[in-house]
């Protein structure tokens, strides 16, 4: 099996999707001949022509408006937003339009073909505007699906599934793993399920839930914890909405403890939703308060980024606190 980094896996997924179906189009700022500022769309214009892979003018609300129309028409647009931090000008098109298109028309029209790709997350010295993790905004929006892969294998399988999913999907790519994360990725077409979490490690004492780049951080914390004799069960949510409540609940019923981690600020982050749901469904089984290890309630900083981030040490400490409760 070839080894790919995450960008290659994404590029490969796009290539497969475009080769298979003429209706798949890739576009966004600098996506065309240049292949995107991260090169996720490299060579696609060469291969599939300018009408199927192209630069757009610099206007995110237009990119998504255009993509909504294309999807309604029956095409399968894969629109790139250059950084997740710049998705907000398109917020109205996503939240009021994409998310409600099928519902409001009674299923006369839908934009299920739409996939929105955007690099998200910190750890690259990007400051306020090249580091954000905006998944919680979209998670509060019925009608959208939100998917985040943790490694190249997941990225390819989940992206192919997203493109072919009958609903619009926002696909957030952990950009600090773009080149840093490599792994074996099958050359051929495959899909991984949307809406299903994955238990990446089984354990008995505490359940750790995360997604995307945070999975790697969790793994480092788990190494520390296991050395202290704590047995951790680790779950990669993979899909933020609709999230796989049952898998998380099942695990917490077993371990009695839950820690959730994300880079986004604490208040109103998606960990809150998981905590609120789990405390309800596992009330009698919880042995300690559900812990959230997240970014601070501030804009994303630069010089003190390391201090800001929910790193393995903070998770490790929170694991210990939970066990010691």
């Amino acid at each position: 099996m070839p080894t790919m980094n995450m960008l290659q896996a994404i590029n490969n997924a796009l290539d497969i999707a475009m080769a298979e179906d003429d209706k798949v189009l890739c576009f966004g700022e600098d996506v065309g001949s240049f292949g995107g500022v991260f090169r996720a769309t490299s060579h696609l214009q060469e291969k599939y022509g300018r009408s199927r892979c192209f630069n757009t003018p610099l206007v995110e609300q237009g990119i998504i408006g255009f993509a909504n129309g294309l999807a309604a028409q029956g095409s399968v647009p894969v629109a790139e937003i250059q950084f997740a931090d710049y998705i907000y000008p398109a917020f109205d098109q996503i939240v009021n339009e994409t998310a409600k298109f099928r519902y409001r028309s009674g299923d006369l029209f839908n934009v299920g073909g739409l996939t929105i790709r955007a690099p998200y997350g910190g750890g690259i010295a990007g400051g306020h505007y090249h580091s954000q993790s905006p998944e919680a905004y979209f998670a509060h929006t019925p009608g959208l699906k939100v998917v985040v892969p943790r490694d190249p294998y997941q990225a390819k399988g989940l992206l192919l599934a997203s493109i072919r999913d009958a609903d619009p999907v926002i696909f957030f790519e952990p950009k600090r793993l773009y080149r840093a994360s490599t792994g074996e990725v099958p050359e051929e077409d495959y899909q991984l399920p949307i809406g299903e979490a994955e238990v990446t490690r089984e354990g008995a004492d505490i359940t750790l839930v995360g997604w995307g780049a945070q999975m790697e951080v969790i793994e480092r914390a788990v190494e520390l914890a296991e050395k202290e004799g704590v047995s951790c069960e680790v779950i990669d949510l993979r899909t933020i909405v609709p999230w796989d409540e049952d898998s998380v609940v099942e695990s917490v019923l077993k371990t009695g403890r839950l820690l959730i981690t994300h880079e986004a600020p604490l208040t109103g982050g998606f960990a809150a939703e998981i905590a609120a749901t789990v405390q309800e469904r596992c009330f009698l089984y919880l042995e300690s308060p559900i812990a959230r290890v997240t970014g601070l309630d501030t804009p994303f900083p630069l010089t003190l980024e390391k201090e800001y981030l929910p790193d393995h040490l903070k998770i490790f400490e929170a694991i210990k606190a939970s066990l010691a409760f």
């Binding site: 206007v59 408006g65 255009f66 309604a72 029956g74 095409s75 409001r104 029209f109």
Partner: protein
């Protein structure tokens, strides 16, 4: 870029270098302007247009009255703008896509949306294609290539660019026409849409109904320029301004625009100068922001009257037919309204379907919980209870007293 000449003194252009003329064919008395040539429009086609205009007018009058009587929660009229909307629609292929703002029921009428279909939407009953989820006037028809209305303004404009781009790739010779008001044209989405259409050479017609107002805001507080038309220069896009109350001019202009779009992949901007004769909506009272005199002046430019005179002159219509037609339409509206009002609401399940292609487990749980709750308090949720199992009847246990 065609930048050619140099200047050596700092002379500003102010936009007064050119002016945008208005394309007109038909005078208010029903005769053509000197030198004007009517577009080819046979008797049947002309009557189809006029009939849609009258039907729209009648529907609007009746439904606004129904709203006033409390039978309907909300309504919006097309009154005064029928020629703009229907003239444009008639110049299209019936399979061309239409993305409207909300005041374009005339387009649906022209394409054959039945009164029943209108009424089912207006009353949000079980037959509403939109399953009773949106406010009245949010029509949509897949069959008639009319995208379901969405209230956020201008969002449909870049969508039209995208849809038309897809049509171009599909290569079936269709285009998209998107309607919007001069107010909505201030939104950022307008700029995005026109620019992208010009860059990507998309077969889309941007049809601006400049009716002088955005709710209470007069166009003079909406933009400083001479209307919306000059914006086309900023995108290098073909543009024409047309008298929006002149059915022949609107028809001819849109026909020509469609040729540019479909045959040359040239997007076009049409600005139709018209006037909203009625209130913005049933929630609005225009006496607070404009004069009766102004309204009267525009009432004299009524597009229906103008077309009727032209038809009469050609012997294609008569006062007799007008009377009959109006009466028949009024009767039909009333009958269909009664039918629609009586129909049950959409089923309770419609609350959670279509959020996604398939109902998610979480939504199914929410629906189940809701059903249990409604079974407990059926009289508190008459619409929801109605659609639950027919054998459920209001219980009368201790818990129920809150349901009154």
């Amino acid at each position: 870029m065609t930048t050619t000449t140099d200047i050596h003194s700092p002379d500003f252009l102010a936009g007064d270098e050119f002016s945008i003329p208005t394309f007109r064919l038909l005078q208010q008395d029903g005769t053509l302007f000197d030198g004007a040539v009517a577009p080819e429009l046979g008797r049947d086609a002309a009557r189809r247009i006029y009939h849609a205009m009258v039907a729209t007018r009648v529907l609007d009058e009746r439904m606004m009255a129904a709203q006033r009587q409390g039978r309907l929660s909300f309504y919006m009229q097309c009154t005064g703008e029928e020629a703009a909307v229907i003239g444009a629609t008639a110049a299209l292929d019936d399979a061309d896509m239409i993305m409207a703002q909300y005041r374009e029921q005339g387009a649906l009428m022209y394409r054959g949306f039945s009164f029943d279909e209108f009424m089912n939407q207006l009353f949000g009953n079980e037959l509403d294609y939109g399953k009773g989820r949106q406010m009245p006037i949010h029509y949509g028809s897949r069959k008639l290539h009319y995208l379901t209305i969405s209230s956020p303004l201008a969002t449909q404009i870049p969508q039209a660019t995208g849809f038309a781009y897809g049509q171009k790739l599909a290569g079936e010779g269709q285009c998209t026409t998107v309607f919007f008001g001069e107010g909505a044209a201030s939104e950022g989405d307008f700029h995005a849409a026109l620019n992208m259409a010009a860059v990507h050479q998309v077969p889309v017609i941007f049809f601006c109904r400049n009716n002088g107002y955005a709710i209470s805001t007069p166009s003079i507080e909406q933009f400083a320029a001479d209307g919306v038309a000059p914006r086309a220069f900023g995108y290098r896009m073909h543009v024409i301004r047309v008298d929006g109350n002149d059915i022949l001019a609107v028809y001819a202009a849109t026909q020509a625009a469609r040729r540019l779009a479909v045959e040359h992949n040239q997007p076009v901007l049409i600005e139709a100068m018209t006037y909203r004769l009625a209130a913005h909506s049933s929630s609005d009272d225009p006496s607070g922001y404009r004069s009766k005199k102004e309204e009267e002046a525009w009432r004299e430019k009524d597009p229906l009257l103008r077309m009727r005179r032209w038809l009469n002159d050609r012997g294609w219509w008569s006062d007799e037919e007008e009377r009959e037609c109006q009466e028949r339409l009024r009767r039909e509206v009333l009958e269909t309204m009664k039918r629609a009002q009586k129909r049950p609401p959409p089923p309770l399940d419609s609350l959670v379907t279509d959020v996604y292609a398939d109902v998610t487990p979480a939504l199914q749980r929410q629906l189940d919980t809701l059903k249990t709750h409604i079974r407990r308090y059926p009289e508190a949720y008459p619409k929801g209870a109605m659609s639950l199992d027919p054998d459920v009847s209001p219980r009368d246990d201790a818990d129920d007293k809150g349901g009154a």
